[in-house]
């Protein structure tokens, strides 16, 4: 109990509360602007978090990302342009409702069920993390190796692209993490004689490049989205309680799917929304209404993408394996703030963890009033021309990445990864998989090489420890699953079952 009180006193500091409020507003604005994603909002926040207390730093990330995922729905519903990729799955549905003359209802669903989904995700984080931490205390490098490997496999399996390209992207990320002297042997690798490369590629500038610069590059070649006409809204929350009672099953399903996808490494809010929307359609009693402005899919997917945000923190806090691209950035911040991810975080820094839960709950509650305010002024915010927003982002990329280490090489990294990310995205290579490779590369190698040294080169211990063997079986199943499905469908086609 005393830890809970301590946690409250950690959160109820003026600097933390101000940080939550300001980053919420920032998240709402960035999320609502088409082309600026929640991940980008988080990446640009990192240099600011350097100068905040640990709890305030984590709070800014939590609040900004939750708000941005909701507010991406606003231009989706009003303009049919998703503000963040996480809203793309149900943009059509929300816009159809607006066309039917129910924009209040569509946006109300977005804000209300986003908040409920976020709270459900937080409860899952509170329930899942401590028992998993207990278990993880007994893990040795063998288990960590399989866990990291499994995480990398998950990221490639759930990518919305060719799985081969996803694996290739992930391997590129691992290769990037090889650069520098940070390896078990301490030998400089792939540095080409450059002293800047000796330190390796820092994940944060690389992420800023991939998620922010390549977005600006894309904006250069597309035309400006249309202006939002000004309109007066009626009551936003009217009728939401009735909907909550009517659609209990879709809501619960959306929350559970969101939580599961959030926990899976590398798969985040956008994936959760796509899966939940198609699931909602499949299980619905009236699937013919989907696409015509039917609230059911909107409820399920809107809850799902916000639920995935909180549960994405489970693997990140426990193992340092990012649950999605946002927590990939958050892990960097956690390390910087001395909150190194790992199971001991829950025993030694329990009050910080409780504080984190409280922040999640606060962020999801203030999402409702702030979200409604944002919906009412959306026409004003979305009027800002891209030519006034994008230059500031380029500038922030340069200054922000410089600030991470007062080193101009970070700016070169940002530029390089902006170009790499842009080319990869254009050619169907999922950048999220590469990001995961960069963030987890050191961990994979460290656990692999240490395990091999411990076992004197034998691979037997990788399979003989009980938990390791289960994880190994899961990894191998994940590896051969697509192959099995493919062979099975081939067999069925050639020898149809009589």
């Amino acid at each position: 109990m005393s830890t809970v009180i301590e946690a409250f006193s950690l959160v109820l500091q003026t600097d933390v509360l101000i940080a939550i409020l300001l980053s919420s507003i920032y998240g709402l604005v960035v999320g609502s602007l088409p082309g600026l994603s929640a991940t980008m909002a988080t990446a640009l926040l990192v240099p600011i978090t350097f100068y905040l207390s640990p709890i305030a730093a984590v709070a800014t990330i939590i609040a900004a990302s939750a708000m941005a995922i909701f507010s991406g729905d606003i231009p989706g519903a009003l303009l049919r342009i998703p503000g963040t990729p996480a809203s793309a799955a149900y943009t059509d549905e929300a816009y159809a409702m607006t066309r039917k003359g129910q924009p209040e209802l569509a946006l109300g669903i977005c804000v209300w069920f986003s908040a409920l989904g976020g709270i459900a995700g937080t409860i899952s984080l509170m329930a899942l993390a401590p028992p998993l931490a207990e278990m993880a205390l007994n893990f040795s490098t063998y288990e960590y190796f399989w866990l990291a490997f499994l995480g990398l496999m998950c990221a490639t399996m759930v990518a919305r692209s060719s799985p081969v390209k996803a694996v290739a992207s992930m391997l590129i990320g691992l290769l990037v993490s090889c650069i520098g002297i940070e390896n078990p042997a301490g030998t400089p690798r792939f540095t080409f004689g450059s002293t800047d490369l000796l330190g390796g590629i820092e994940p944060i500038p690389a992420l800023v490049g991939v998620f922010a610069v390549s977005e600006v590059m894309r904006a250069m070649l597309t035309s400006e989205p249309p202006k939002l006409p000004y309109r007066r809204f009626g009551s936003i929350l009217a009728g939401q309680l009735a909907l909550t009672r009517k659609y209990v099953a879709p809501q619960v399903r959306g929350n559970i799917v969101g939580i599961i996808i959030g926990v899976l490494p590398g798969a985040g809010a956008d994936m959760a929304a796509w899966v939940s929307y198609s699931m909602s359609k499949r299980f619905s009693k009236e699937p013919e209404k989907f696409g015509t402005g039917h609230p059911e899919g909107l409820i399920e997917a809107g809850a799902s993408n916000n639920a995935s945000l909180a549960s994405g923190w489970v693997p990140s806090l426990l193992f340092g394996i990012p649950g999605d691209t946002i927590t990939a950035i958050a892990i960097g911040v956690l390390y910087m703030k001395g909150l190194n991810p790992g199971p001991t975080l829950f025993t030694e820094r329990a009050s910080s963890m409780y504080a984190l839960y409280i922040i999640f709950i606060i962020a999801n509650i203030i999402m409702i009033p702030l979200g409604i305010a944002m919906i009412r002024i959306a026409a004003l915010v979305l009027r800002a021309p891209r030519a006034s927003v994008m230059p500031v982002i380029v500038l922030l990329c340069a200054v922000g990445s410089f600030a991470t280490g007062n080193n101009l090489f970070a700016v070169v990294t940002v530029a390089a990864f902006g170009a790499i990310g842009y080319v990869m995205e254009r050619n169907g290579y999922p950048v999220a998989a590469m990001v995961l490779g960069i963030v987890m590369g050191t961990m994979v190698e460290q656990s692999f090489v240490t395990s091999l040294i411990k076992s004197d080169g034998s691979i037997l211990p990788f399979f003989s420890r009980p938990v390791a063997s289960v994880l190994a079986a899961m990894t191998i199943a994940a590896l051969f699953w697509p192959l099995g499905v493919w062979t099975w469908s081939r067999l069925r086609r050639h020898w149809p079952v009589k």
Binding site: V213, P391, V394
Partner: protein, 173 residues
Amino acid sequence: MRLSDRVTGLFMVALGGLAAYGGSRLPPVPGQQIGPDVFPLVVGIGLAICGGLIAFGVGRHYEEEAEADLAKITGQMATSIGEADEPLAWWWGLKALVPPALLLFYVVAVDRLGFLPTAAVMVLITSLALGARLRLAIAMAIGAPLFVNLVFLKLLRVPLPSGLLPLPWISLP
């Protein structure tokens, strides 16, 4: 820059091969079987295999499914904006390189010119490249660097070089 799968696949093969070769030439740690060479070797070989598969078009149909899903939403969007309804000049695609080029310009110029002038140039060019009118672009080029300077130098104490414009009231004491 849309390349065929064959080109990107073969590029992956080359990259993976080079990484594996470079990795295999790393010096071993005396007295240990597992050196710094193992990881790049494994990753490089894996990348080369994936590149080969991509070049032969394996897994292509998953991508087409995902693209069809996305096209349902963004397809109509693109036409409603009126994208690409006029023939584009050959230099059009090069515009995408403006942001990374400006970042490199920042690296080269910031210590000599100072933060404010460099930032003003970056903002001006980005703004104009996105089709802003000159008035907005100039206003942005004056306002945005001052704002960023205030936040990062004054509030966060990041040592931004003052260069040609040593303004005592906006730089660190």
